[in-house]
Symmetry: C2
DNA sequence: CAGATAAATTCACATATATGTACATCTTCC
DNA sequence: GGAAGATGTACATATATGTGAATTTATCTG
């Protein structure tokens, strides 16, 4: 069950992150199609907790820097080592595609760092974006780091859906693809989850964290050169990863 | 009316900001005394939206960097000019007390930047902290920047409460104190709102934003030297504020 | 400076929602 | 290796909560 008002808080914050200017109660209510009275309650709650204020009289609400302060506290624990951002930054520059660092979240994989392609037609992904762990290159690069038992436990929770023609729709199909990936030396996906999207990924264990790097873009651009891209990812990791670490 | 689940989202985030490590459903439920099933729904919602993930198997949930990315977007609009942080940083260093930048939020004043005193006994305030606009030095330094009509409009919404012996409990009392502040050249408060707390503040208009700076600490330390402190604030503002700006 | 219009706020009630209970799954310790 | 305990998940139901309508407050317009 989705908790509506919890989701609404996130929606409001995303709204401000996009619009980047103060908004009045009426504007927010209209934007979301929420009743004014409900919007009033929500804004009052956020204000009362010190997360929203009125920068200038009658110009509406805007988030206080408290969000930033809180997010900093949270993220300064185990931040990703700086070379991982360099990694996806270099990969994106060299391939012209979107490159990301991905982490597990149950049956999903979450993007925890992203450098977007500059191309007009590109894979649009943001930090926090989630994809099924079994039906994506990045996700399978995570699964490769699991033990058989851990994978089985994940499989039991997966609802196998036919997202596209090549989506693996059984445990056996996923396991087979994993074996192929090992043989091949990297994970790949051609529209397994998102139409027209192709990607190459490899596991990226950091300390005891299981992450992966992925480069993804439109099938017609990536398709012919998945192998090259995968090799580039591997080389770039080799170059940037400090020799001491695992 | 307070929106419970909206507040809960904030509570969870604050919880993580404090504990700074992943937490399981059970831990979170126990910490807040929430039923497991409700906690489950909340965590599921936050996860689904890409704000929570499971860094490692069975080790529980932790916020994704999405919070940080969003907070950055939001806060990079009209950030406070760097000299304002320098300002409170210098003030805190020189006085040994807590110094803050404060903005209006209806009948309240919000702390939007804070440098805490290093002293063991100190004014403990964080970004996002809110205080009544009429019963604090910092708040009154904001009111001084309002027109008479704007002040009247604020007064109508204030619930006058006797927070301490010196709290102004009528419009007239507030207006008198404002007149005294003008004559004196700065705003002050001696336990008007928080027991044993004293502070000195002056208005700090930046562009069309109405802000104020305040230095606050225990009455016994600040009391004897409010004048000095206020003068120091004024001098420091003069020194740091770029000459061009208002 | 009215009178009109739009925005913000309040409140009582129907309903969407949080939770108690039951079940499944995983972990631990003997 | 197996049983007890802890943790995570599903669902029906009573109740806390969101909302439509009414009221108050602010803002525009001629």
């Amino acid at each position: 069950m989705i908790v509506r008002q919890a989701a609404n808080v996130l929606e409001i914050m995303e709204f401000f992150a996009q619009s980047r200017k103060p908004a009045t109660l009426a504007e927010i209510a209209d934007h979301f199609g929420w009743p004014r009275s409900s919007t009033f309650n929500l804004l009052a709650t956020l204000s009362e907790k010190g997360y929203l204020y009125e920068p200038r009289p009658r110009a509406g609400f805007y988030p206080t820097p408290r969000w930033l302060a809180m997010a900093r506290m949270i993220s300064e624990v185990e931040p990703l080592p700086p070379w991982t951002h360099q990694l996806i930054s270099d990969l994106s520059a060299e391939t012209g595609e979107t490159a990301s660092i991905v982490a597990p979240a149950g049956v999903m994989a979450v993007f925890i760092d992203v450098v977007e392609s500059a191309a007009a037609i590109r894979y649009f992904a943001t930090i926090g974006h989630r994809v099924p762990i079994h039906a994506t290159a990045s996700g399978r690069a995570l699964l490769l780091q699991y033990s058989q038992e851990e994978r089985d436990s994940v499989y039991r929770k997966i609802e196998f859906k036919q997202y596209g023609p090549s989506t693996p729709i059984s445990i056996e199909a996923v396991e087979t693809e994993l074996r192929n990936s090992i043989a091949r030396g990297y994970c790949q996906s051609f529209g397994d989850y998102s139409r027209d999207l192709a990607g190459a990924a490899i596991p990226l264990p950091i300390g005891d964290r299981r992450l992966s790097v992925v480069v993804a873009g439109p099938e017609f651009r990536i398709g012919p050169k998945v192998g090259e891209v995968a090799a580039l990812i591997a080389r770039t990791v080799d170059r940037l990863r400090p020799k001491a670490s695992a």
